[in-house]
């Protein structure tokens, strides 16, 4: 069984602030780590390999430094690692990221099962996996909470559809996005770190991809444009209420804040 896990490097802390005046994003350190949601994706792959055998590859797209997350994945037990990197990919939105990843996946072989995380802690769109599946023309299921069974030709999963929980069987090749807490991710092992120190991380650049059309990648290939980024307004400062009819006032506040609508 061939499993590919998509992983992304993200800034260390999600507690990124912004200078209200200059609009500069403040980062406590320049440090990065593997997107925490991707640890669950990798752990899922490791558990499946324990049961069904096979190989796990990880793929990340990012700057050269993103090699670090592939090394982290090696320390957890991944067999092969790929880094998709090229200046042509700079400024990619979801569409351009997914397209580049799908091209790289075709290059390395899409395998049986592609696993990605629920979302990232930076861009936070939860769309990359699904868009990849479209470009690859394979089915996908998101919000996967549990792997029920692994068969030679299909996987049976439990997924959270919001109002319901569903059990579904999906044949390979397919893509799943797993929820946080599907399994407890293992810690990187020192022994594996040493054992994989010399294991190469294969670099993939634009000229290895089948589609060489640069207008499909990077900023040019990105339909969405970030016009501006700014700090959220913290308008809800402190208000103090005193006097009569406090319960009625509170009711009006909750109604206007849509807390009295039916919840689904």
């Amino acid at each position: 069984m061939n499993i590919i896990v998509l992983i992304k490097q993200v800034p260390l802390s999600s507690d990124i602030g912004m200078d209200e005046e200059t609009g500069v994003i403040l980062r406590e350190s320049g440090n990065t780590k593997m997107n925490p949601y991707d640890l669950y994706a990798l752990e899922t792959a490791l558990r499946i390999r324990e049961k069904a055998g096979g190989k796990i590859s990880v793929l990340t797209m990012g700057p050269p430094q993103a090699e670090q997350v592939v090394r982290e994945a090696y320390m957890m037990g991944a067999d092969y690692g790929y880094l998709l990197t090229d200046r042509a990919f700079a400024g990619s939105d979801v569409l351009a990221t997914s397209y580049a990843l799908s091209q790289a996946l075709t290059h390395i072989g899409i395998g049986d099962l592609i696993i990605c995380g629920k979302q990232t802690t930076d861009g936070d769109t939860a769309q990359v996996g699904v868009e990849c599946s479209e470009f690859l023309g394979i089915p996908c299921i998101t919000n996967v909470k549990r792997i029920i069974d692994i068969q030679p030709d299909a996987v049976t999963i439990e997924s959270d559809m919001g109002m319901t929980i569903e059990h579904a069987r999906i044949t390979y090749p397919c893509l799943i996005a797993v929820d946080k807490d599907i399994y407890q991710p293992r810690l990187p092992s020192y022994r594996k770190k040493k054992a994989t120190a010399l294991l190469p991380v294969e670099k993939i650049t634009l000229n290895q991809l089948k589609d060489q059309n640069t207008t499909r990648y990077g900023l040019t290939g990105s339909p969405t444009q970030v016009i501006k980024i700014f700090p959220p307004s913290r308008t809800s400062t402190h208000e103090i209420w005193e006097g009569e009819h406090l319960g009625r006032r509170l009711f009006a506040l909750l109604r206007d804040g849509k807390h009295l609508q039916e919840n689904v």
């Binding site: 936070d124 009295l260 609508q261």
Partner: protein, 414 residues
């Protein structure tokens, strides 16, 4: 290829220049300033450098002819016997946007069999054209047939904007369809507005809510956006709808799927405190165990969870799993109402990240007021029962209004 060009002759303070980039993309390479592939094109370097070292060099890409795409479309989510309320909220937003540019509102719904009452309900909320797709294959949401339906609808109607609910289903359907049209999708928008030239202004939080991004999709159509539930307002129900219904079918081959749904069951309601959207928390100030019933009732009315301070846990009034604080749970609900809680640091450490904090305390100097967005100085044993009375009265009035509306509209419920 679009990129950030560096005017080396203007670059003086290399260290200050590298510090401009929040993504670490500006580096000193071989004695020159260089922009690496870590660049996210956020343009902050251009904005914040006064000497004009950085410049955006853009390729001219031929985009879509935007004038061929008109109208605001909404994907309607119908599950079993219910229209997801986010669909109605989006219709309201779609009307507002369409009104500004003189366009129409379109909607598409899919299912095994769509109830007439649902169809009429949607028209009453102001949809001009409703496209219905019914087939046994559409009984459960599966990605391939639903994308085929949505694609068919978009090709037929060519809307400028497509709104999809940020639900479990919408968050798969929207990216899959947007990728098929090779167009942009902005996730979880909290503000939407439209320009005269039909460009949609989309504002969304990222980095866990620490940053807001203003996003546009100017050269591609349709412009996809997902919207979470309870962000936009419910539209008014209109009495004389004028919209029409268009029944569509797809060839069975397009409705194939390699996904087999084996079992569907409803979610149990018991939630972990950490996952609750709304929490009503009680402290010693509620006075008696007896009074806990108001707290529980309020939580039920708000579809929230009950929690408590350590004091009440130790008194045995509340289950230990419901303790908030340093030695309890850390929560970040959309709303927390702290009732009779002093606001010790050990308690607030577990909840001060909540989106909206309302505190009721009789003591105007209570510490909880320093972190509350709304501080209510009053007796919790009076304020909460009064609140409950008002909620109940309002719900009763709604039921009456609904009954009246059904009477006048003479809806067929067959």
């Amino acid at each position: 290829m679009s990129h950030i060009a560096v005017h080396q002759n203007k670059a003086v303070d290399y260290k200050a220049l590298s510090a401009l980039c929040p993504f670490g993309a500006i580096v000193v390479d071989n004695g020159h300033i260089a922009v690496t592939s870590a660049c996210r094109m956020c343009k902050l370097c251009i904005k914040n450098d006064t000497r004009g070292v950085f410049e955006l060099v853009e390729d001219d890409v031929a985009g879509t002819d935007t004038s061929e795409w008109n109208g605001i479309a909404v994907f309607i989510e119908i599950y079993e016997m219910k229209i997801h309320p986010v669909s109605l909220e989006m219709i309201g937003k779609a009307q507002e946007l369409a009104g500004k540019i003189g366009h129409s509102v379109y909607a598409a719904a899919a299912g095994e069999k769509i109830h007439t009452a649902h169809v009429e309900e949607l028209l009453h909320y102001g949809v001009d054209e409703l496209y219905l797709y019914e087939a046994p294959e559409l009984k459960h949401f599966r990605i391939e047939p639903y994308t085929a339906v949505f694609e068919d609808f978009i090709v037929r109607r060519r809307p400028s904007v497509v709104l999809v609910g940020g639900t479990s289903i919408g968050r798969v359907l929207a990216p899959r369809t947007a990728a098929r049209f090779r167009t942009g999708l902005t996730a979880d928008c909290t503000i939407l507005d439209i320009q005269e030239n039909t460009d949609l202004d989309q504002i969304r939080p990222a980095f866990g809510g620490n940053i807001m991004a203003h996003i546009r999709t100017t050269k591609h159509r349709p412009q996809f956006a997902t919207v979470r539930y309870k962000i936009f307002n419910m539209p008014e129900r209109i009495t004389n709808p004028t919209g029409t219904v268009i029944h569509c079918t797809l060839p069975p081959a397009k409705l194939n799927s390699t996904i087999e749904i084996l079992k569907v069951h409803h979610k149990e309601k018991v939630k972990h405190l950490e996952e609750a959207d709304v929490i009503v928390a009680a402290g010693r100030g509620i006075g008696s165990r007896e009074n806990l019933k108001y707290i529980e009732y309020l939580a039920e009315l708000l579809d929230g969870e009950v929690a408590g301070t350590r004091t009440l846990i130790e008194a045995g009034w509340i289950d230990p799993r419901r303790q908030i604080g340093l030695s309890g749970r850390t929560v970040r609900p959309r709303l927390i109402i702290a009732c009779g809680i002093s606001g010790s640091v050990q308690f607030t450490a577990g909840m001060n990240g909540s989106e909206k904090i309302i505190a009721v305390n009789i003591d105007p100097n209570a510490a909880i007021f320093s972190i509350a967005h709304i501080g209510i100085v009053g007796d919790v044993t009076k304020v909460i029962p009064e609140l409950i009375e008002n909620i109940k009265a309002d719900a009763a009035a709604d039921v009456k209004a609904d009954a009246a509306a059904e009477g006048t509209a003479e809806r067929s419920t067959s």
